[in-house]
Amino acid sequence: MQKLNKCIYIVYMDCLQMVFKLFPNWKREAEVKKLGYKVHGDPFSTNTRRVLAVLHEKRLSYEPITVKLQTGEHKTEPFLSLNPFGQVPVFEDGSVKLYESRAITQYIAYVHSSRGTQLLNLRSHETMATLTMWMEIEAHQFDPPASKLTWEQVIKPIYGLETDQTIVKENEAILEKVLNIYEKRLEESRFLACNSFTLVDLHHLPNIQYLLGTPTKKLFEKRSKVRKWVDEITSREAWKMACDQEKSWFNKPRN
């Protein structure tokens, strides 16, 4: 009787695999249901994309739920009970609700450290500490000027607001100093934290991608190691998918 049940199970699994091959959406939905991951955010938001990048590097399924930033949905209930600071993204893993994109990326990278791209450097306490240090550098030294430049040159125009060129100039000067340090670092190391791509490089992608479409692009291009690093990280498949709305944000809007 056990042998028969086993046979039936094998046939069932084969049929299921066949169905999933013909209907990849069904496979995705089944995985989504199994993992139960949800991402509340906006496919164009830098912070949301930071999380999508990790999910794609790890080939994890998730349910994307749109939060309408233009109408201020993130600043009112019920969103505020997900993130009282009123910011996207929010990540749900069953009963665990997480916000702050860099906490979400770290959580996913740890929980799924044996799957997909290795995004951490877990060889020793020292290698992990160096990675943590570079994550802090991205968050405290790179992101402030970079996100201001993205805001002024990319997001304000979308809302019909005028770019403040003084702010652009000030922040480009700050960013230049940071990129000088990156240029030196990338002479010694292929990527920022170590010789393989990690969360550190990934965390930079959303702002870099937007800035490549602005005059700020020249800051990256005139430094040869930085330019090579930018080319390499922005051409990753997972990153391209994270930026492709059809591939990464494939749901119906929330009711």
Binding site: E100, Y110, A129, T132, E136, Q141
Partner: protein, 209 residues
């Protein structure tokens, strides 16, 4: 475990963050004073330790690090068997601690540090406190403390029922703000107030004052 060195300034909040972690772990270390008012942090040899020119920098034998929150996390993990436990490693705890560290880093610290600058440091440098900035930043801090108040109603400390790095990282800024009118924002929230009294009375916190 010989050879821990901290290069910083005893009054700097970021330096204190690292010192408190070392005291929690009862670790011996050498403190190398970097004179900020002489711009020592922007010149050689310090700038070789941290090209961004900020204190503290850290050394453990041959291993070198900077960024206070990277240093505290290294101390917490590398010396996990010494002194007090500062992190917990279950996957749910990793989530809570990672998120708590980000919240302190991106929501609490920028606002808290501006208030410390205006009310504590500017007077020391003979500059005038800008009351408009203080008002604006206090309004932002109130919102952050409302979130902390809610959280501390559910949990004894910010990330769990035990003291962790998430709480530790807030101590240096809180210590300064308790000596300013901003203290009232902590006092008027009962859970926050009790938590502040608790964490600032830890021996490690007292040692950096």
């Amino acid at each position: 475990m010989a050879g821990i060195k901290v290069f910083g300034h005893p009054a700097s909040t970021a330096t204190r963050r690292v010192l408190i972690a070392l005291h929690e772990k009862n670790l011996d270390f050498e403190f190398v004073h970097i004179e900020l008012k002489d711009g020592e942090h922007k010149k050689e040899p310090f700038i070789f330790r941290n090209p961004f020119g900020k204190v503290p920098a850290f050394e453990d034998g041959d291993f070198k690090l900077f960024e206070s929150r990277a240093i505290t996390q290294y101390i917490a993990h590398f010396y996990s068997d010494k002194g007090n436990q500062l992190v917990s490693l279950g996957s749910k705890d990793i989530a809570g601690i990672a998120m708590g560290i980000e919240i302190e880093s991106h929501e609490f610290d920028p606002v808290g540090s501006k208030l410390v600058w205006e009310q504590v440091l500017k007077p020391l440098y003979g500059m005038t406190t800008d009351k408009t900035v203080v008002e604006e930043e206090e309004a932002k801090l109130a919102k952050v403390l409302d979130v902390y108040e809610h959280r501390l109603g559910e949990s004894k400390y910010l990330a769990s029922d035990k003291f962790t790095l998430v709480d530790l990282h807030t101590i240096p800024v809180i210590q300064y703000l308790l000596g300013t009118p901003t203290k009232k924002l902590f006092d008027e929230r009962p859970h926050v107030s009790a938590w502040v009294a608790d964490i600032t009375s830890r021996p490690s916190a007292q040692k950096v004052l």
